[in-house]
């Protein structure tokens, strides 16, 4: 087992990042895609905080900025989903082709 180094945290964060990427690339439901983006942002946050253990407080401040961005992105994204669902009655991304001509 041994000591837990920064590399352990980096590996966990990389796993979360990959899972989030798979979710973004493979799912049809746009709400799940937004959740996968949250997973990716959280993986980045884990990296930032893991390095802040070595290099001081700046990583934690950046993690707070990333959380702020995630909140803004979730609000706008879910607003778009509601507006789109009102028009098309679907949340599948492969049926979002209004601008495709």
């Amino acid at each position: 087992m041994g000591e837990i180094t920064t590399l352990h945290y980096l590996v966990v964060a990389a796993g979360l990042f990959i899972i989030g990427t798979v979710g973004v690339l493979t799912r049809r439901n746009v709400i799940i895609i937004l959740m996968s983006i949250e997973l990716i942002l959280n993986a980045v946050n884990l990296n930032l905080v893991a390095f802040s253990r070595l290099y001081g407080l700046h990583g934690q401040v950046f993690a707070i900025f990333v959380i702020t961005d995630a909140a803004a992105e979730a609000a706008v994204g879910l607003g778009i989903i509601i507006a789109f669902f009102r028009n098309k009655e679907t949340v599948n991304v492969d049926e979002v082709d209004l601008l495709k001509w």
């Binding site: 837990i4 979360l16 899972i19 946050n45 879910l78 507006a83």
Partner: protein
């Protein structure tokens, strides 16, 4: 000072985070996915506590698990997904997408292996120790060194609020 990051807790939280993250992207019902997302976020908050970042852990729980996921759940309840649950959940390019993501994982593994010697500090397992004034230090950094980014973030939140209202309103 003895680190609280015992090996057992690390692996427990890591397995919980990864398994519930996989559940997020594989569940058919979006409500189950959102609940799995809460588990992932809480285990990440546990990681932050193990890394001596109590303020970020609190923000993670309050803002993410308490705010953003509730927003997700609200939208899931607002729109009617009964039709969607019966449909096929993965798109046509899911094989290519998975291969591309795994290639990204291979790239990350390669970089971690190749960069090991250049950054010996990633093998550091010690701690600077718990700073009792962690929150105070973050507040001083936010209002001192990072004041301009902080104000830009507040402006971003204002724009996001206005944008969300404009987007979700029936007629403006």
């Amino acid at each position: 000072m003895n680190p609280v990051a015992t090996t057992f807790f690390f692996y427990f939280l890591a397995i919980m985070a990864i398994v519930s993250a996989i559940a997020v992207i594989t569940r058919r019902n979006p409500v189950h996915a959102a609940l799995s997302l809460i588990v992932t976020l809480l285990s990440l908050a546990g990681f932050y506590l193990m890394l001596y970042a109590p303020f970020v852990a609190a923000v993670q729980i309050v803002l993410y698990a308490g705010g953003i996921v509730v927003l997700f759940l609200f939208v899931i309840m607002l729109i009617n997904l009964e039709q969607n649950i019966r449909e096929y959940q993965f798109n046509k390019q899911w094989i290519v997408g998975t291969i591309a993501a795994l290639a990204l994982g291979g790239l990350l593994a390669f970089v971690y292996r190749a960069g090991r010697d250049a950054f010996p500090s990633v093998f550091y397992s010690g701690f600077r120790g718990l700073e009792a004034d962690n929150t105070q230090q973050i507040g001083l950094a936010l209002y001192g060194q990072y004041m301009l980014p902080f104000e830009i973030a507040s402006l971003l939140l204002l724009v996001a609020i206005v944008g969300a209202v404009v987007m979700a309103k029936k007629r403006i």
